[in-house]
C-alpha cells in the first residue's frame, strides 16, 4: 500500500502547482485587476458585476437590476439626486432576462435591505431565456469572506481553466477600452458610462431593433412575480421602458409599432395591478447622437433618460 500511495503522490505532484494557481486566483480575484472574475454564470458581464459587488459594502437600499438597458442607460448621479434614501448599487449586467431579474432580486434580498428597485428594460429582455447563473454560489460568495470553505468548494468545483485562459486578455479590453460596447469599467455605483465621442459604433447593432422574434410568454409571468414580490416585501418598484434611437423609431412599420405597443400595454397592466410606477420613454423622440447603438445610450443620453424618468415620477408625486 505504501508503494501505491507513494506512486500516486509522485504522479499528482506536478498538479500541486495547478492547485496553488487556483487558490491564488480565488484569494486575489477581487483585488488583482488582471485576473478575470469568477465564473458564476455563462455571462462574463454578470461575473464581472458580482466581482464589483463583492468589493462594495452591503448597505445599499436602492438597487437597479436588469440587463444592459439598466447597466448603461441609468445615470447613477441622477438617481442619487432624485432618491434621497441611503446608498445605491447598479447590479445589472448584459443578457439578463426578466426571469434572471426575479431570481437575482430574491437572492439579493437576503443580502441587502432593499427599499427600492429600479428596472430599465427593453423588449429584448422578454425575448431571451437569459443567462445560466448559480445564484446559491453568488449568495455564498457575496455574504462570506475570502476564506469561506463553502464558497471555495463551489469555486473549485466549477473552476474552468478554459474560462480563465480565454478571459485573461478579454478583461484588459473590457476594463480599459471605453470605446467598445463590451466596456465594463463601472462607476462607483456599478453603472457603465459610454463616452459621447469617438465611440466605436458597430453597424449591425446600430440598426438592430430586435422586434422580429417573439417574446417568451413566461417572462411576463416573471415580471408579475417581481411585481408581487416587491409589493409583499414593501419594496418600491420603478420600471422604466428604455427608448429606441430616433432613426430606428422613424423606420418602424405598423406591425413593429403594434408589437411594441402591445408589449408596453402588458407591462403597464401587470405593474398597475400592484400599484408600481411605470415610465414609457418612447413617448418622446431621442436623437441618435445620444446613442452608441439602437438602444444603448452614451453618458449624455443616460443622464437625460434617467432625468426624464424621474421627472415623470416627481411630477406624479406633485399631482398626488
Amino acid at each position: 500500500m505504501k508503494k501505491f500511495t507513494k506512486k500516486i503522490i509522485w504522479f499528482i505532484a506536478p498538479f500541486f502547482i495547478y492547485f496553488f494557481a487556483i487558490i491564488y486566483i480565488y484569494i486575489n480575484n477581487s483585488k488583482n485587476d488582471s485576473i478575470p472574475a469568477i465564473n458564476f454564470s455563462n455571462s462574463y458581464s454578470f461575473n464581472e458585476k458580482i466581482r464589483f459587488m463583492k468589493t462594495k459594502d452591503k448597505t445599499a437600499s436602492i438597487l437597479a437590476i436588469g440587463s444592459s438597458m439598466t447597466l448603461d442607460n441609468l445615470d447613477s448621479k441622477t438617481i442619487l439626486a432624485n432618491l434621497n434614501i441611503g446608498n445605491y448599487i447598479n447590479a445589472a449586467s448584459w443578457g439578463m432576462s426578466i426571469y434572471n431579474d426575479y431570481i437575482f432580486l430574491k437572492s439579493l434580498s437576503k443580502i441587502y435591505n432593499i427599499k427600492c428597485v429600479i428596472i430599465s428594460s427593453n423588449i429584448i429582455d422578454f425575448k431571451t431565456p437569459g443567462i445560466n447563473v448559480d445564484f446559491q454560489f453568488i449568495e455564498n460568495y457575496l455574504e462570506s469572506d475570502n476564506y469561506s470553505i463553502v464558497t471555495f468548494e463551489k469555486f473549485i468545483n466549477t473552476f474552468s481553466p478554459k474560462y480563465y485562459m480565454r478571459n485573461f486578455s478579454y478583461v484588459k479590453k473590457v476594463r480599459n477600452d471605453s470605446t467598445q460596447i463590451e466596456y465594463l469599467n463601472y462607476d462607483n455605483f456599478g453603472a457603465v458610462s459610454f463616452p459621447k465621442d469617438n465611440f466605436n459604433i458597430n453597424k449591425k447593432r446600430w440598426v438592430a431593433d430586435n422586434l422580429d422574434s417573439p417574446c417568451i410568454e413566461l417572462q411576463y409571468n416573471y415580471l408579475d412575480s417581481i411585481s408581487n414580490y416587491c409589493k409583499i416585501n414593501k419594496i418600491e418598484l420603478l420600471f422604466f421602458q428604455s427608448p429606441y434611437r430616433e432613426g430606428i423609431w422613424d423606420n418602424f412599420n405598423s406591425s413593429k409599432l403594434n408589437k411594441l405597443n402591445l408589449h408596453i400595454k402588458r407591462i403597464k397592466s401587470i405593474l398597475k395591478s400592484d400599484n408600481h410606477f411605470f415610465v414609457n420613454s418612447n413617448e418622446k423622440l431621442w436623437p441618435d447622437s445620444l446613442f452608441c447603438d439602437a438602444t444603448h445610450m452614451n453618458c449624455i443620453g443616460a443622464q437625460l433618460y434617467t432625468k426624464f424618468c424621474f421627472d415623470k415620477k416627481n411630477s406624479l408625486i406633485i399631482k398626488k
Binding site: F11, S160, P161, K162
Partner: protein, 488 residues
Amino acid sequence: MLFNSIDFAIFLPIVFIFYWSLTKNLKLQNLFIVIASYLFYGLWDWRFLTLMSFTTFFSWLSGILMLNIRTKETNYNTKTKLKLISASNIILNLSILGFFKYYNFFVENFVNAFKFLGQEINIQSLQIILPVGISFYTFQALSYSIDVYQKKIEPTKDIVSFFAFVSFFPQLVAGPIERATHLLPQFFVKRVFDYNKAVDGSRQILWGLFKKVVIADNCAEYANLIFNNYSNYSGSTLLLGSFFFTFQIYCDFSGYSDIAIGTSKLFGIDIMRNFNFPYFSRNIAEFWRRWHISLTTWFRDYIYFPLGGSRGSKTMIIRNTFIIYIVSGFWHGANWTFIIWGLYNALLFIPLILTGKNKKYKDTVATGKIFPTLKEIIKIGTTFIFIMVGWIFFRAENIAHAINYISEFFSSSLFTIPKFEGMYKALITIILICIFIIIEWIGREGNYAIEKLGIKLKRPMRYAIYYIIIIAIFWFWGNEQEFIYFQF
C-alpha cells in the same frame, strides 16, 4: 457527493487510508464502509438515510426470518411461509419505490383518464422529492431477498456486512446493481491490499472521469441547446443533437460505472461490469447484452426467466420481451417517454426473435483484427442509428416533444448543413468524440478502453498518455453536470 467534485477528491483518499489501516479487524472495516457510505449519501440529503436503512433492515430481516423457518420448521407450511416473507419484503420495497417514484405519475394519469371519460375527480398530486439512487439500492436489496428464497445464497446474520453490501458507496447511487451472490460474500472475507488491482482501479477511475468530464459534459452543452430549442433548428442540426445525446448518455453513465468499479478495486472489492462497448454492437440484441448489463441481467433473472424466458412458444417469448422492455423503460422514470422508449426497443428486438438471430454475436466484433469488415461497419452503423433514434424518446420532456423532434428530424432539412449557436466550438467536441471512438475501438477487447495500456506500452509513453488525459480533464472541468442516471 459527485464523483467529479472536489468533495469526492478529498473524501476518497481519507476513506482509503482509514480503510486499509483497519485490516486487522474485518468487522470494524465493514462498519467503516457503512459509516463512509452513509456519510457519502447523507451529504446529498441526510433525510433519506432513514429510508435506505429501513429498506436494508427489512431485507436483512426477511433473510433472518427465512433462515429461522428453514432451520426450525420442516412441515408443509414452510414453503408458504417463506413465500409470504419474500413476497412481503418485495411488496414493501416496491411500495416505497412506487410512492417516491411513481405516485404522481399514476395520480396524473388517473385524473386524465377520468377527464377523458367526462368525469372530474380531485386527487392531489404531492410534492415528492425522489431520493437519489432509490431504484438502484432497492433492486439490490430485492435481489438478496429473492436469492435467499430461491436458495441461491445463505441468509446472513451479519447485519453490518449486509448494510455494507446495500450501501457500498461506489455503486450506491447509480449502480452497477450488484447481486448478493457476488458482492455480499466479499464482505465476509479479509481483504488484502493488491497493488496491481489498485493501479488498475486508479486507471479505470481516470478513464471514467475522462468520459464524464471531457466527452459527456461537452456533449451535454450542445444536446441541451438543440433539444431545448428544437423548433428553431433544421433536421440536420437535430440529427447532430441526438448524436451528441447518444454520446452524452453513454459516456455519462459508463463513465460513472468506470469510476465506481475503479473505486471498488481500490478497496479490494470487485463489482460487476456494466458496459461492454455497446456502440460497437451489430444488432439490437447484442447492444442490450452490452448496455447497462447489471440492470439487463437483473430483469432477465428476476422477471424474464420466471415468466418462462425463451423456453415457450414464439408468442410467449414475444410477450415476455415486451414485458421486460416496458418494465425496463418504466424503471427509468415515471414518464410515458421512457415507456415508449422501452416499447421501441422491444419492437426492434422482435424481428431478431422471429428470425432466431437474437443470440447471434456473443463475441467481440472483429476480434484480433485492427479493422472491421465492410459488412460489420454497415451492421454497427445501422444499429447505432436505431439506438440514436430511440434516445430521442429517452431525452424528450414528453411524447409531444419527442414526436415533434422526430418529425422535424426526418424533414427535407435533414440534408442541409447543420447550424446552431457555437457550432464551430462544437467541432472540437466532435473531434474529441472521434478520438474517443478510436481509443474505445482499440481497447474493445478489454474491460475498459485503456485497461491494457500498462501491458502494451512502456512507462514514459504510458505516463505521457495519463498526463494528457489528466490535463484534458482539468481543461474541461467546470461544466459540473450531475450524472444522468442519478435521477433514476
